[in-house]
Every structure is written in structure tokens, then in C-alpha cells.
């Protein structure tokens, strides 16, 4: 401060407060809070951003329309996969799934795979729109909680029930086999049916049995008549043989 008032050297006449302050002040970047320079304060106040004010306050405007839910690509892929699976399967069984250990799930998947049955976990949000547009729309009420699908290109109901008997955590609710919706009882009845070849043989046997019965009924009368006539001829022959040779023949011989 002694440099201020004294008419000393020329470099001392120009007062540079920065020099004074720098002598004992801190640097620009400090660890403690440092008051902003007043000129900087004024500059920032002048250049502060002021957003444009709308003519109407936003609370007086009608609320914006809710955005339509955007379709996710992954959900679309899952739906496509489910559609392909349903199209390629003759048997689709819907089961209620309770939590199981990972190794139990793997074992179940293995035993089902042995019979050509695939185990698929489905999300209800993915499955419901697919089923609503397919022939399986009557199975929609089943898709409420966590479900699994057992799909197979062949109707292997007996094998499926045998495997599920040992797994109490997976509960069969219903199925669609060959475009027919079945309940659990229906699947059990279907499993007890004989195979197609055996059924065909039984049908052919039943049909031919009727025809053979008709044929034997029609032939019974004439066959009985033939037997009676044969018996009558045999008795007449026996009686004639017992009576002896006729007299005309003995005179012609002598």
C-alpha cells in the first residue's frame, strides 16, 4: 500500500490491484470456496440464460396425449417364434409351472426330449396376442400365471403324462391335440386310447363281423335243407339196400 500514494517510479503510479491481491491471495482454482470476482459476477449475470416464457402457462394447456406403446423388436421376435412353434406342432400342452431347481428343469427337459417333446417357457404378454389370433384362442384363460408349453410334432400324450407324473411342480392344465382342445381329463382319456393301427384293425374286424353274421344267417336255411335232404336220401338208400335186389332183374338174368 505504500506504493499507492507516493509519487515514486513510473511503474508504481499505475495501480494494479491484481498485483496487490496476487501478492497475498490464492490462485484461481482453490480447494476452498472462493468468492467470484465482481466483474465476473456481472458478466455471468448479464449472460444468464432466460428460457422463453410460453404465452399460456403449461398447466393451463390440455394434457398431451399419452404416447402409444412402442412395439419392442424382441417381443416381435418371440411372437414369431411362438407362431412357428404352434404351427409345426400337433400337440400343444399348457402346464402350470411352480419353481423348480435348475437341475430338475434340465432333467425334465431331457426326459421329455427323449420322446420328442419340447419344453418351452412362455411369457403371457407374448403368448396372449399370438393365441388370440390362432385356433387356440379357447386356451387363453390358462395363460394367467407362470406357464410352460410342451409341444411335439407327434401326439405323445401317454409319454408326456408318464413323465409329468414324477414332477409335481409342473401341472397339466389343458392341451390342443390335432386341432382339438382337451382338458386334463380329456388328455388322460386320449392317452388311454389304442394306437391308430390297432383302432383301424378293430374297426375292420367289427365291420366284417356284421357282414359275416349276415352271410351265415342267410345261408343257414338252405344249408339246413341240404342237410335234411342228404339225410333223407341216405335213409332211403339204406332202406332199399336192406329190402334186397328187385325181382325184374333175377328173371332177366336166367
Amino acid at each position: 500500500m505504500a506504493a499507492l500514494g507516493s509519487g515514486g517510479a513510473r511503474w508504481r503510479r499505475a495501480w494494479l490491484p491484481a498485483l496487490q491481491l496476487l501478492r497475498r491471495g490464492s490462485k484461481a482454482v482453490t480447494r476452498h470456496w472462493k468468492a467470484m470476482h465482481f466483474q465476473r459476477q456481472k458478466l455471468l449475470a448479464l449472460t444468464e440464460y432466460l428460457p422463453p416464457r410460453p404465452s399460456l402457462p403449461p398447466r393451463c394447456q390440455p394434457p398431451p396425449a399419452p404416447l402409444a406403446p412402442q412395439e419392442e423388436g424382441y417381443a416381435r421376435v418371440l411372437r414369431g417364434q411362438l407362431q412357428d412353434t404352434l404351427r409345426a406342432s400337433r400337440m400343444v400342452a399348457v402346464c402350470h409351472y411352480n419353481s423348480m431347481a435348475e437341475e430338475d428343469v434340465a432333467t425334465l427337459r431331457h426326459f421329455l426330449r427323449r420322446h420328442g417333446i419340447h419344453l418351452k417357457f412362455v411369457l403371457n404378454e407374448v403368448a396372449r396376442p399370438v393365441l388370440a389370433q390362432s385356433k387356440l384362442r379357447n386356451l387363453l384363460p390358462l395363460f394367467v400365471c407362470r406357464n410352460v408349453l410342451l409341444v411335439s410334432p407327434e401326439p405323445r400324450a401317454r409319454e408326456m403324462l408318464r413323465v409329468l407324473k414324477g414332477v409335481p411342480q409342473v401341472i397339466l392344465l389343458g392341451a390342443c391335440i390335432d386341432d382339438t382342445i382337451l382338458s386334463r381329463q380329456g388328455v388322460e382319456n386320449f392317452a388311454r386310447l389304442p394306437s391308430l393301427e390297432v383302432s383301424r384293425g378293430q374297426t375292420v374286424a367289427a365291420l366284417s363281423q356284421l357282414c359275416s353274421q349276415t352271410s351265415s344267417l342267410l345261408q343257414r336255411g338252405p344249408a339246413r335243407l341240404t342237410a335234411l335232404l342228404d339225410e333223407h336220401v341216405r335213409r332211403l338208400r339204406d332202406a332199399a339196400a336192406a329190402a334186397g335186389p328187385p325181382p325184374g332183374r333175377s328173371a332177366a338174368g336166367s
Binding site: H96, N98, S99, A101, P141, L142, V144, C145, R146, P168, Q169, I171, L172, L173, G174, S183, R184, Q185, G186
Partner: protein, 109 residues
């Protein structure tokens, strides 16, 4: 929901869950069944038999709980939520557990 309601199945002998899956009022019963089959709940009593009876006769969903002392708790799930059913079962199980503890304390003071 099972994590919020601590269910101890020690005094339970068997649970039979009966429902028709094609009815629209079985969601809470099926969720109850899922909660029962949770590994923590099953670990509390491995001797508890949980049976599921799936029908197709339009009947209402019913949960039939038989306790070890012969009591029965029948819950008709058509107009109950999963939480209510779990709370009802948990409260009865806890009450029976408490009674058992008091009995054993009286026997062995």
C-alpha cells in the same frame, strides 16, 4: 409375495388346491400355489403334502389346508387375493406354533 409374508408350514399336514383352469377367477389361487411351492416355504416342512386337483367342471377354486392337530382351513379363492390367503394361513400357522411352544415349555419348565 411369499417373501413379504413369512410362511412356516410346520403345523400343516397337507394342502389340497382344487381349481378349474378355464374359469376366469383362478388367478389368485394359482399364485397362491406358486407361493406355496417356493423353496423357502417348502423347506420349512418337507413332510407337508401339497396336492393339486385340476378339474373341468366350472367349480370354484378352493384351498383345503389340514393341520397336524386335525383342524382344517378351507379358503375359497374366487373372491380372495393371494395376499389375503397367505396372511390367513400364516397367522394360523404362527398361532399353532406359539401354542406348541407354550405346551412344550409347560412340559419342560
Amino acid at each position: 409375495m411369499a417373501s413379504k409374508v413369512s410362511l412356516v408350514l410346520r403345523p400343516v399336514k397337507s394342502i389340497v388346491v382344487r381349481f378349474c383352469p378355464f374359469e376366469p377367477n383362478v388367478e389368485s389361487t394359482r399364485k397362491f400355489l406358486q407361493s406355496i411351492y417356493h423353496k423357502k416355504v417348502q423347506a420349512t416342512n418337507t413332510n407337508c403334502e401339497v396336492t393339486t386337483d385340476v378339474r373341468h367342471d366350472g367349480s370354484e377354486p378352493v384351498v383345503d389346508v389340514t393341520f397336524a392337530d386335525g383342524d382344517r382351513l378351507i379358503m375359497k379363492g374366487a373372491h380372495l387375493t393371494t395376499g389375503e390367503m397367505l396372511t390367513a394361513l400364516a397367522s394360523r400357522c404362527n398361532a399353532k406354533d406359539l401354542k406348541e411352544e407354550q405346551k412344550s415349555k409347560k412340559k419342560n419348565p
